[in-house]
């Protein structure tokens, strides 16, 4: 499986570390809403199809990435910096999909 890192370009999946489900929304640190915390920790969509994920390019530029991966085919339809990234690094910007 290849993941197209927005900085490094296409790299083998062995260079990346899965950082979890990208759909979760962490409650405020001081939140006492147990339902929200329960949902954050346990609830997963588990889709058979496109899935939002967070990956880290731990064996490369070490950036955290937002990745959309199809759980049936492993096809990766988009990758982007999780926090926007530095604009100057957008090697694949011109291709329309990052």
């Amino acid at each position: 499986m290849l993941i197209n890192c927005p900085y490094c370009g296409p790299r083998d999946v062995i260079e990346f570390t899965y950082q979890g489900d990208g759909n979760r929304e962490r409650p405020q640190a001081a939140s006492q809403n147990l339902d929200a915390w329960n949902a954050y920790v346990y609830d997963r969509l588990n889709p058979a199809g496109d899935h939002n994920e967070i990956w880290q390019h731990s064996g490369g530029c070490r950036a955290h990435l937002r990745v959309v991966r199809n759980t049936l085919t492993h096809e990766i339809s988009s990758t982007a910096f999780a926090h926007g990234g530095h604009k100057s690094a957008a090697r694949h910007k011109a291709e329309g999909k990052s």
Binding site: Y7, R11, E15, C61, F81, G84, A89
Partner: protein, 195 residues
């Protein structure tokens, strides 16, 4: 300054090795630069950091991810978004950068004692490196001066192409000896010379 000892000393045996009856296709050496520094810009400050690099080293960074340049004495390349490795044969690069890279621009990390620089050169350099790293070493995809961050069996490495058939590899000092041995084994079948 503290005298620096090479972690490769017990295993670096100068001369020709392996299958060299028909000549050597690989030349391995340790470049032992005096300074290896990593610079990181805060978001939005990259241009200022790049101009600091130009001020201190005289090297201009080309646009684009992984871009870099070298003049044979000093080298610079991007290894991550807004982050750069700068190398100088002379010591004192970190203090030179500390004077111009203000806390508002970014950070300076001196890795001179933390990394070992290994140079692999020769017509089969791309071929040998392709055994280790799952990246494209072809000249159009990896131009002279450019840098890449990648891994070798989960161990981090930074690679800069410093010539058409020459690469400088920066590895953790503590892993340098085993990496060097692996590089020698991988070069045996084409014949290699250690300088």
């Amino acid at each position: 300054m503290v005298e620096r000892q090479s972690p490769l000393e017990p295993v670096l045996h100068a001369g020709s090795h392996g299958n060299f009856e028909h000549g050597v296709d690989i030349i391995l050496s340790e470049t032992q630069p005096g300074s290896i520094v990593q610079l990181a810009a805060w978001p939005g400050e990259e241009k200022k950091l790049i101009s600091c690099i130009r001020t201190v080293t005289g090297l201009a960074l080309p646009d684009g991810a992984g871009g870099g340049s070298t003049d044979g004495v000093r080298s610079v390349f991007g290894f991550a978004s807004g982050k750069f490795t700068v190398v100088d044969e002379a010591e004192g690069l970190a203090s030179a950068f500390a004077g111009v890279v203000t806390p508002a621009i970014g950070t300076v990390t001196d890795l001179s004692h933390g990394r070992t620089a290994i140079r692999i050169a020769g017509p089969k350099a791309e071929w040998v490196l392709a055994k280790f790293f799952a990246i494209d070493f072809a000249l159009p995809a990896f131009p002279v001066g450019a840098g890449r961050s990648t891994v070798h069996h989960d161990i981090f490495a930074q690679i800069q192409r410093t010539g058409a058939d020459q690469f400088d590899i920066y590895v953790f000092r503590s892993f340098a000896r085993s990496f060097w041995k692996a590089l020698c084994h991988a070069s045996e079948e084409v014949g290699y010379e250690v300088q």
